[in-house]
Chain length 766, copies 2
Amino acid sequence: MNRDYIKPDNWSIIEEGFDPENVKSSESLFSIGNGAMGQRANFEEKYTGKTFQGSYIAGIYYPDKTKVGWWKNGYPEYFAKVLNAPNWIGINIEINGESLDLNSCPEVTNFRRELNMKEGWYNRSFEATLQNGTEIAVNVRRFLSLNLDEIGVIKYEITPLNKDSKIVYKPYIDAGVSNEDANWEEKFWEPLEIKKGTNEAFLTAQTFKTHFKVSTFMHNSIFANGENINISASSIDSKQDKIQFTYGTIIGKGQTSSIQKIGGYTVSLNHNNTLSAAEKAIKEAVDKGYDKLLEEQAESWAKIWEMSDITIDGDVKAQQGIRFNIFQLNQTYSGKDSRLNIGPKGFTGEKYGGSTYWDTEAYCIPFYMATKNQEVARNLLTYRYNHLEKAIENAQNNLGFKNGAALYPMVTMNGEECHNEWEITHEEIHRNGAIAFAIYNYHRYTGDYSYIPKKGLEVLIGIARFWHQRANFSKEKNQFVILGVTGPNEYENNVNNNFHTNYIAKWCIDYAVEQIEKVKTDFNTDFCRIIEKTKLTEAEIDEWEKVANNMYFPKSEDLGIFLQQDGFLDKDLIRVKDLDASQRPINQKWSWDRVLRSPYIKQADVLQSFYFFEDHFSKEELKRNFEFYESFTVHESSLSPCVHSIQAALLDKMDMAYAFYLRTSRLDLDDYNKEVEEGCHITSMAGTWMSIVEGFGGMRVKDNSLHFSPKIPKEWEAYSFKINFRNQILTVMVNHDETTFSVDSDADLAIVVNGKETIISKTVTA
Amino acid sequence: MNRDYIKPDNWSIIEEGFDPENVKSSESLFSIGNGAMGQRANFEEKYTGKTFQGSYIAGIYYPDKTKVGWWKNGYPEYFAKVLNAPNWIGINIEINGESLDLNSCPEVTNFRRELNMKEGWYNRSFEATLQNGTEIAVNVRRFLSLNLDEIGVIKYEITPLNKDSKIVYKPYIDAGVSNEDANWEEKFWEPLEIKKGTNEAFLTAQTFKTHFKVSTFMHNSIFANGENINISASSIDSKQDKIQFTYGTIIGKGQTSSIQKIGGYTVSLNHNNTLSAAEKAIKEAVDKGYDKLLEEQAESWAKIWEMSDITIDGDVKAQQGIRFNIFQLNQTYSGKDSRLNIGPKGFTGEKYGGSTYWDTEAYCIPFYMATKNQEVARNLLTYRYNHLEKAIENAQNNLGFKNGAALYPMVTMNGEECHNEWEITHEEIHRNGAIAFAIYNYHRYTGDYSYIPKKGLEVLIGIARFWHQRANFSKEKNQFVILGVTGPNEYENNVNNNFHTNYIAKWCIDYAVEQIEKVKTDFNTDFCRIIEKTKLTEAEIDEWEKVANNMYFPKSEDLGIFLQQDGFLDKDLIRVKDLDASQRPINQKWSWDRVLRSPYIKQADVLQSFYFFEDHFSKEELKRNFEFYESFTVHESSLSPCVHSIQAALLDKMDMAYAFYLRTSRLDLDDYNKEVEEGCHITSMAGTWMSIVEGFGGMRVKDNSLHFSPKIPKEWEAYSFKINFRNQILTVMVNHDETTFSVDSDADLAIVVNGKETIISKTVTA
């Protein structure tokens, strides 16, 4: 299967030619979303070939009863999954009595998909010969309005090429959908009510168990040569979970018939009465009309790009890659709603359940902090604050902790743990550290301390309590150890003293203690409230500090490196470069035990600590650890290459940094992992952004200042990015000769470039 | 729930009084079996209270599609499960128009169950008042013939106590049964054909997928006051998967009506035409009749007891316990058929799928060697020999081994791996060692070397190859290590250098090399055949020996003990005695991660090596290791107390040895683990036998001689057991004053008692 079929283009994702083997991959790559909903690029018309149907609504999930081989205490009762939502895009088409189905057409030519990232729409066009001999040209454009985020729009145009033709449109909405990934083949949607109007219909359904109510709606208009012919449906077929309208029209050869379908969802998360909200939403959209909605869409995307675009000159594939990443991140999460978060597949597939992982804190927050206003990142922090009680319950009820210790879930929709592999759910606890780190990182970047006394400190206390209890004293080592964990490298399970986990555990306690002192001094009202709530005492803090001050970190004096875990050097240390290529990817070729006892690393682990806490280590330490661990890293996680790219750039290994950049930025477009048909890797796309801004741009925040040490891959002529730093927009343009900085405000901005303080006044070239 | 309700009795298991809460537990405890089939003590008549229905046929299984939360490479496609078989015991009863159902009777008195172990039958009697006011007395006796092992017999007697009554019997056979433990709610049985005769019926069904064909049959006779009244069914209700006959009869107050039902199974494992085999089987049984069948049953059991009974004087509960264990072992496995093996629950429940585990080699073989002729143990070894190709395929195809390395499955019916937890399936590899050890143990005990050149050596070579490849050289340690395993203590997963695993790995290689040399010298024809087949070379053996000769064993010089695994001493070493009782059993109270990082041991692990290889270690070493590990052992495996009991006896810790003996022997009768309703722990029952013979009796085989060092718990007056040692039956009787040995043959037997050689001529008192 050729999966490298996307045409290079600066602003669009383009597929040319119809290959049924590419349909599922393209359905992922051409997905569209607007933060509130999203969908795979499924065909509107019937398609009997291989397809993976998916439409998703942010925050609407179902608790799919847990499936395990052998139950273990502490497993959650369910896996919350963002559901395949009712279908509103469907339009069955009949041409001269024959159903249009690309899988059965004798000939399909000029098939082309374009995802126009600049303006935020998806277009599909083709010519086809039907079995009845009719030749047609089709053009379909679809977008999900950023402006009216409950609204999606389709214009479906058909031009018969060889004869006057009868064209029948059968637009429908359908709640009889299922998930591919369902544990028990339960039905997820219960249809409640159908309401039909002249050219519009509303289907209200609710999820079983979670009882999210959703009104799915459509409004149809039929056009001939661009003129609304104002016809009504000739018939309406309605059953409990589906309603379909039928519109028949005759169009001359060479002339164009079309249907405009406006559809979407209103949901009980946002409305008491979803049906009347739907009626209102549809009216607003219909009043605006297709052209206006499309125009607004382009304007909305222009605003996003204005702030978040990264340009790369001289390397179209790199340019296309980064824009695809930025586009998808913006399609997935708008930051408006602190109840929402960023699932690893966004709205492009079902895998990982559409739920929240530590990806958000470790990878996504830097992107949103720098390309949005700080409220967006604060909403992401607040999401965890709102789940603090659940994290405490999780630690206490499922895992036996006490006294307000909080363990945030590995996977969640509502704060409850959803995942059900013990080695992950119960042991991949470094996630708790990433959540604390994000608070630190937010304050470091935005300078907004207010979050900590208002919300963050309670989270930090819960997390510090967790680490204090989770460590135990080893008489053998005369230090505190953390046994039985899975680090970021999920290719080792249940190991002892994972360096990253031990390191971030100590850091969490130290940071929490510092913040307690600071809040006590500077925000005493908040401090008193928090002490009252948490019953924290000085004596307890002393106990925490004993753990933090005497934490064990495994290392090899000989190699001058930290050890990923106690037993790492006992492994059969054959480097990746010496591993037979036929054995990779190891997670597809090897049984799990073999993966686990191998030295191969899925993603940055010791190096994750070096990424989070770069300043704690010398460059020589980084170099030794990077060179050792990079040689064993197989990058079979989408989250891996970006960290290595940043560190390679820092170590002046620019060829390596560039190779990792390409891998992260085109992971899905070039389908490195042979799985893009399952959906795109959304959260790792923020890592791609970091590879440029932090890797090549060398951006860091230290002591309230932006630092840069720009580098540029030899393959590029120039690149540029923008940064919203504390409400000043800094533009950075790098080429092989120089780096140009500019700010959009009248105030100067003091930055540090290659270690030297530099004042940016509007435009400065350094 | 009171689960300690079994009346002490030397020869019977007795329950008195009807408590619906005890029904499921009693269904397990009063299970009957004959090696070919078995069943829980379900009521024959309708019962609407809580019940767990189960009838099982040896060797008839279904490949239930694997269920896991997250698929990992190497998992088997299915879990083979011995199925709940078609029901042949069912007899619905109507008394004066009312269905008899103990759950709805206003009054049930004199309820009594008895499992008569001496004669091999199960009896249930009660008096009940029906809702219609009829008072009845019921007595039901049931047994599964040892002699005709396709035949089961029921005599169901009813005596109306307060009025002449109309009694309607509705005996049926029914293939519409399901498993409680089914992964996907698939149907397992496909009914094929029903054949009915005058008072008999045959229902042929086959398992889906595996296509085992089973004819379930019944033959009914109705009696009044013991006389066959020769009536035929008044009606027959037949549907695809069930057939029921109706017999109506009037019986006077105080008189006894009864039905005799003969039923059972014929299976395609043993017959080409199961239906004609069933007709033949039923004819033979009917011709013999109830009384003769019951008489033969008592004779058959007398023969078993003659050889395998253990007597204990002065401690009824201990006596009852050991007989229950011996009885269940004999009900489960007769040793006649090398296609069969011993599932951990035998025919008493569904858990563990009725499949074969390493329990057979580590625990059961010594019992069957000593209480049966050697053919039985040889059949158990042959079972694994017959699965060698599958074990090689498992290692190669699922786990990436090569060159004929064999990994026997953790769980199997047909040689293929069935289990699906990576930490067990892929990592609990010491099982491979137990299979090699059983070959050694068989030869040591029986003196029959012929098995090794004929079959065993090929197994040993496959196993040695596995260990050679599974170990890797650690540069750090400059020795070979075995990483990522689960030892016998399943409360630690994915650990490095589990002592028992490393030790048995080395032993397997050494033993294989020795046997290769011996077979080469003494059985050269076999040797040439094996070399031809295995392509074994001297160079390969040299490589094995490098591993065996330089294997790493973790130990603590300070404590003078071997370490269960590399990280054991880093644990929070709180002894079991200092653990709050409310926290136990930890596998029910703690999440899995907490169990794993705790020091608590489910069952003998380092001590398993000391059990297998007692002569390799000094008594002082045993004492240090025993005292250390015993203090952390929670014995939450049924296989644990017996090993500790044997070692405690050896170390003269007789109170401890006795406590462990009681725990192992009455594990199910007193429901120590609060789970007997799921079934009995059959394989651990062989461990109970070892506790007496090897523990208190101190029996060992060394240098072709039996050794004894008899001890007796202070709670007992005397005990005795018999041993078939190389076709001489030795009886050992121990009391507080002396031990008496006798042989049943004319030939003398030289044994070693307390280190002193002693010649036994018929009867000797030592």
